[in-house]
Symmetry: C2
Subunit: 340 residues, 2 copies
C-alpha cells in the first residue's frame, strides 16, 4: 500500500498535522522539523492522495473535456489548447469522446459529475440536452466549446459559423459558380444549422431555384463524406460546378468520390472545406478552406472556465466569438463556362 501522511508522521516522529503543514504551509514549521519531514516524504515515496484532498476540500482541480470526435484534427487542436491552458493552471483534463452519440455523452456527463470535476468543457453532440441543464443546476461550471450558448446559463467560446459559411459561399460565387452543392452533416448538430443558415443568407436572391442543393452526410468523417458523395453522384440530376463541405474531412472524402467518378478537382468541380485542419494544405489537391482558430478556441475556453471555477461569485458569463478566415488554395478555381 502507498504511504500515507500518518506513515510519514510516524517516520519523522511528528504529528499528522505537522506533515500537512510542511506540505501546505511550510513557512510556519521550524526548519529542522521541516527537513526531517521532507526526508521522510522522500524515503517513503509519499504522494498526497487526491481523493482525500478532494473529499476534504469539496473541490477538485480536474476539468472534463467532452468532444464528439477526437479523430477529427479540429478537435485535436482544440484539445491541445485546452490541455496547455489547464496544465498551466495546475488542472488536469479528463477527455471524453462521445462519437456524436447522445447516450455516450450522457454517461460521460454522469461520470464527470461523480468525479466532482470543477468544470466541464463541452461541444454538445446535439442541441442543448436535458442532461446538461441538469448539470448547470449543480455547482459544476460549464463552458460551451465551438458553440454559442443559447438559453443555457453558461459561458461559450465559438467561431462565427454563419459568417464562415457565408465567406465560403461568397468565394464560390465570386469565382462564377452558380450551381452549388453543399455537403452538410446531421441536421441536429448546432454547427451544421448555423452553416446552413449562413449559406442560405449569403445565397438569398442570387441563385436560380434548384441551383443550390443540400446533401446530408450521416457523420462528419472522411469515410461518410466519400460514401455520401458517391451515392449523390449516382442519383443526381442536373449539374454543379462547386461543392462546399461542412468540414475538411467531408471534403477530403468527397474529393475521393469525385475522382472515382472521373471528375477532376478543381477543373470540373471546385471544392471548399471548413476548419482548415493541418492536412488541408498537404491534401491531394491542396484544399481551400475556412480557417478556425482551433488552438485559441480551446485555450480561451479553458481560461474562461478556470476563471469561473476559481471565483464563481465574481464571475459573469461571457460569450466569446472568434472570426473565421478564408484560406484559398488549389481546390477552387473560376468556373470554366460561367453561366448568367
Amino acid at each position: 500500500m502507498t504511504a500515507s501522511m500518518k506513515d510519514v508522521a510516524q517516520a519523522a516522529g511528528v504529528s499528522l498535522g505537522t506533515v500537512s503543514n510542511v506540505i501546505n504551509h511550510p513557512e510556519i514549521v521550524a526548519e529542522g522539523t521541516r527537513n526531517r519531514v521532507r526526508q521522510a516524504i522522500k524515503d517513503l515515496g509519499f504522494v498526497v492522495n487526491a481523493s482525500a484532498q478532494t473529499l476534504r476540500a469539496g473541490r477538485t482541480r480536474v476539468l472534463g473535456l467532452v468532444v464528439p470526435d477526437i479523430g477529427n484534427p479540429f478537435f485535436t487542436e482544440v484539445a491541445k489548447g485546452v490541455d496547455d491552458a489547464a496544465f498551466a493552471a495546475g488542472y488536469s483534463v479528463i477527455l471524453c469522446n462521445t462519437d456524436e452519440d447522445s447516450a455516450k455523452e450522457d454517461r460521460y456527463l454522469e461520470l464527470l459529475a461523480s468525479q466532482r470535476v470543477a468544470g466541464i468543457l463541452i461541444t454538445p453532440a446535439r442541441e442543448t440536452h436535458a442532461a446538461m441543464t441538469r448539470l448547470t443546476s449543480r455547482e459544476v461550471a460549464i463552458t460551451l466549446l465551438d458553440r454559442s450558448s443559447t438559453g443555457l446559463d453558461a459561458c461559450s467560446v465559438a467561431v462565427d459559423d454563419a459568417a464562415g459559411a457565408g465567406m465560403a459561399f461568397d468565394h464560390l460565387y465570386s469565382l462564377g459558380h452558380r450551381h452549388i452543392v453543399v455537403l452538410l452533416g446531421p441536421d441536429d448538430i448546432p454547427q451544421i444549422i448555423e452553416r446552413r443558415r449562413g449559406v442560405n443568407a449569403a445565397a438569398a436572391g442570387r441563385l436560380d431555384d434548384g441551383s443550390l442543393r443540400f446533401v446530408t452526410s450521416p457523420h462528419m468523417t472522411a469515410a461518410a463524406g466519400e460514401s455520401t458523395m458517391t451515392q449523390f453522384l449516382k442519383e443526381q440530376k442536373g449539374t454543379f460546378t462547386a461543392l462546399f463541405c461542412a468540414n475538411d474531412l467531408l471534403a477530403l472524402g468527397a474529393i475521393r468520390a469525385l475522382r472515382a467518378a472521373g471528375l477532376t478537382v478543381p477543373r470540373d468541380v471546385s471544392v471548399i472545406g471548413y476548419d482548415d485542419i493541418d492536412f488541408a494544405a498537404s491534401a491531394q489537391i491542396p484544399l481551400t478552406s475556412i480557417r478556425q482558430p482551433k488552438y485559441q478556441l480551446g485555450h480561451a475556453a479553458t481560461e474562461l472556465l478556470i476563471g469561473e471555477c476559481e471565483d464563481p461569485s465574481s464571475h459573469a458569463h461571457q460569450r466569446v466569438m472568434f472570426q473565421p478566415q478564408l484560406i484559398v488554395r488549389e481546390s477552387t478555381k473560376a468556373v470554366r463556362k460561367p453561366r448568367k
Copy 2:
C-alpha cells in the same frame, strides 16, 4: 452543495446504510424501501461522490494515458482504442500530452500518482525513465504502449519497428533504389532507435558506402520534417532517389520541401512514410507507408492493463507484438536509371 447520501437517507426516511445498499446491493432491500430511496435520489439529483468511494475503496476506475503528441493522428487512433476499451469496462481515461518533454512527462506521472489511478498507459518520450521505475515500485499498474518493455517490470504492446523499417527499405531496394536518405526523429526515442536498426539490418552489405544517409529531425511533426528537409537539400552533396521517413507527418512535411526545391515525387524521389495515418491516402501524392494497427494497439493495451488492475495476483506480464504491413501507393516508383 451537491446532495450526499445522508441527504437522500433523510429525505427517504431511512438510514445511511440502506441508501448505500440500494445503490450497491439493491436485491437485499425491500421493494417499498428501494422505491422510496430511488425516488429521493432522483428528486435530489444525487450522484455518488467518486472521491469518497475511492478513498474508502482504496482504488479508482481511472486510467492515465500518456502520449508524446496527441496532434499526431497515430496517437489519436491509439487513444480511440484506449477510450473504447476503457469505457466498455467502466473506466475513464485521463489524457496526458507530454509534447515529447520529459519534464512534462514527470509532472504528469506525479499527477496520476496523486490521483491514485488504477493504471497507466504510456509511450515514454525517452528511454525508460527514473520516474517510471519509481512508479512501478508502487501499486500502480503500467503498460507500455508502442514500446517493448526492456528491463521494466511491466506489460507492453508494440509493433515490430525493426521489421517495419526493414519492409520499407526492402520495398525501396526492390524498386531499384540504391541511394537512399532516411529521415529520422530524435535519437533517444525508442521507436527511432528500432527503426534505424531495422534499416541498417536490411541494408547490410547491399549498398555502397555513403549511399545510405541518415538525417535527424528535432521533432516528429510535419513542420519539423519540412524544415529539416529544406536544410538538408540546401547542404547535401551527392544525390539520392529515395527517402524513408520515420513517420507520415515527417513524410508529408518532407514532400513539401522536395516540391519547393523543384523535385517531383515520385519521379525524382520516391518517398515512403511510416504509420499509415488516414491522411496518407488523401495526401497530395498518396503516400506509400508502413501500416501499424493503431486502434488495436490501444485497445489491446488497455484490456491488458485493466486485466492487471482487476486481478493483480493472477496477472503475468506479457509482451504483445503486432506486425506492421506495407501499403504501396503512388509516392514510390521504380528508380528511373537503375544503378548497379
